[in-house]
């Protein structure tokens, strides 16, 4: 067989063990440098301005042991995930509906672009007026923050779909539903995942900011409570928890993305 696929020979060489160690070593060194800088900041500026890493770690441990960390995380996640899910669903469905009608798209687009400019956090006090001090005002803010990101990335993905594939499928006799489900949906998955990965940290941030304003529990509530009593260590511990939360969810999203896009050429070794 003369038709040996080019990719077999060129690309398939896996990274060697030594290169992997180099990457891990580099990451560890960077993390150590950051912690060292943190410690240096605490020593020169004092614990009121810069909580020392050790104290922050001790606080995290205490919060983990007494169960407050878990209940705060659950409270924050509850709002962030619900808002994320609602916005994700609408952010995907709306572009799919608009796809069929250029006129409807033209009608809706200015409204979307216009309302996108509204500072969502500024709506919070007004939303509290409407919905009280429960989860609802936070949920609305999170949903609005996430919706635009998912909507715009999905829309860009739909516009980027290869028209020739759709034309091919129509000639073969595929139904419009089939084309939407397989060709358009699969083509825009990379865009969709990019949108999700940008949106999720923002959903968590939005929830935390919402909790600053109104809440009885949650990571944001903890940070705000600590700030009010000048407990810098508490603020740092809260920020670390928020970071860990975002990282953990991102890892989950990355895993799902790798699985959903397993057909794509592997470009992880690509050098920019």
């Amino acid at each position: 067989m003369t038709d040996v696929p080019a990719t077999m020979a060129d690309v398939a060489s896996p990274p060697t063990a030594s290169r992997k160690w180099l990457i891990h070593g580099g990451r560890a060194a960077l993390a150590l440098a950051l912690i060292a800088g943190w410690e240096y900041g605490a020593r020169t500026l004092g614990p009121l301005f810069f909580a020392p890493p050790i104290e922050t770690a001790q606080r995290l441990w205490a919060l983990a042991v007494n169960g407050q960390m878990l209940s705060d995380i659950m409270a924050t996640l509850r709002v962030a995930v619900a808002g994320f899910a609602i916005a994700g669903i609408f952010g995907v469905i709306l572009p799919f509906l608009l796809r069929r009608s250029p006129r409807a798209t033209e009608a809706v687009e200015p409204a979307v672009l216009f309302t996108m400019g509204i500072p969502k956090y500024a709506l919070a006090p007004w939303l509290i007026l409407w919905f009280g001090i429960g989860d609802m005002p936070k949920l609305v803010v999170v949903t609005l923050v996430v919706f635009y990101i998912v909507f715009i990335t999905t829309f860009a993905g739909i516009r980027g779909v290869d028209r020739r594939l759709i034309s091919m499928a129509r000639v073969i006799g595929a139904s419009e539903r089939r084309i939407a489900r397989e060709i358009i949906w699969t083509s825009l998955l990379p865009f969709f995942f990019t949108g999700l990965k940008i949106a999720f940290p923002r959903a968590v941030s939005a929830t935390i900011v919402g909790e600053f304003l109104v809440s009885t529990q949650g990571v944001g509530r903890y940070i705000e409570g600590a700030r009010q009593v000048s407990d810098t260590t508490g603020v740092f511990a809260g920020v670390v928890i928020a970071l860990a939360l975002v990282l953990a969810i991102n890892a989950v999203l990355n895993g799902i993305e790798r699985w959903a896009l397993r057909w794509q050429p592997v470009e992880r070794e690509m050098e920019l």
Binding site: D3, S167, R170, V171, I172
Partner: protein, 263 residues
């Protein structure tokens, strides 16, 4: 016998963009017909509107004038929204680009047509497997398109259309983008498959040799506005050995005649 496909006085001009003159006619007064089981080749220079012609026949684009008869019945429409691409699966279309779905493996790309038509069963699966064997793709069933060579992708695209057995197959320079050696191999593969089933094929190319090697009859398109400038019956008997097509009696004379007509 009435022709299976009949093109009558076909014309095409693209709609004017805002503030511009309407485009000139790409096709004008273009007429020809194809008999059942015939392998018709159409030769024309680049920009002669070959792809436009096939797009109109496949109904991925509208005609501006003229009529198309399929099995004696008119299938013409001027309304882009009333187009029926592939008119109820009676017309297969192998485009210039392979248009394989990048997330489907070789076998799944071939089965795509059967899947969307609800014809996926053991018999059609076996047929797909047989076609994959016939074009030398055995062993590459689970490879994704980006892992295949250009020639292999062409073969996959070709059998994706052959597998659902449309009565007419349109081919738009399907082998233009591969090297000469691979092209000869692909032509041989195509002829072998065609001898097995004798589909009606309309094959468009800019390569006179290819038009002679494959066709029963070759039409020559003029420059724009395109119409049929000449028609040549290919006197070379089948089965043909495309690798030695130059040496076969009748080739040189036919080549000269067609070349004189291609502007």
């Amino acid at each position: 016998m009435s022709p299976l496909l009949e093109i009558k006085k076909l014309g095409k001009r693209f709609p004017a963009r805002h503030g511009r003159e309407p485009s000139p006619w790409v096709l004008q007064d273009l007429s020809f017909s194809v008999a059942e089981g015939e392998f018709l080749t159409i030769v024309g220079p680049s920009g002669a509107g070959k792809s436009t012609l096939l797009n109109i026949i496949a109904q991925t684009d509208t005609a501006s004038a003229g009529e198309i008869l399929l099995g004696g019945a008119s299938v013409t429409t001027r309304d882009p929204r009333a187009l029926k691409p592939g008119i109820e699966r009676r017309i297969g279309y192998v485009t210039q680009d392979d248009n394989l779905l990048p997330w489907r493996s070789t076998i799944d790309n071939v089965l795509f047509a059967l899947e969307v038509q609800g014809k996926l069963d053991d018999a059609s699966r076996a047929r797909a497997e047989k076609l994959i064997q016939a074009v030398g793709l055995a062993g590459f069933e689970t490879y994704y398109p980006h892992e295949l060579s250009g020639g292999m992708r062409k073969r996959t695209a070709l059998i994706r259309t052959l597998v659902y057995d449309p009565p007419i197959i349109l081919m738009d320079e399907p082998f233009a983008a591969v090297d000469a050696q691979t092209r000869t191999q692909l032509q041989a593969d195509l002829l072998r498959l065609w001898e097995m089933g004798r589909k009606t094929i309309v094959f468009v190319t800019h390569d006179i040799t290819e038009a002679i090697a494959l066709g029963d009859r070759a039409l020559v398109l003029s420059k724009q506005p395109s119409r049929i400038a000449a028609e040549h019956t290919i006197p070379i008997p089948r089965p043909r050995n495309v690798k030695d097509i130059f040496a076969l009696p009748g080739f040189a004379a036919t080549y000269e005649k067609i070349r004189a007509d291609v502007q």
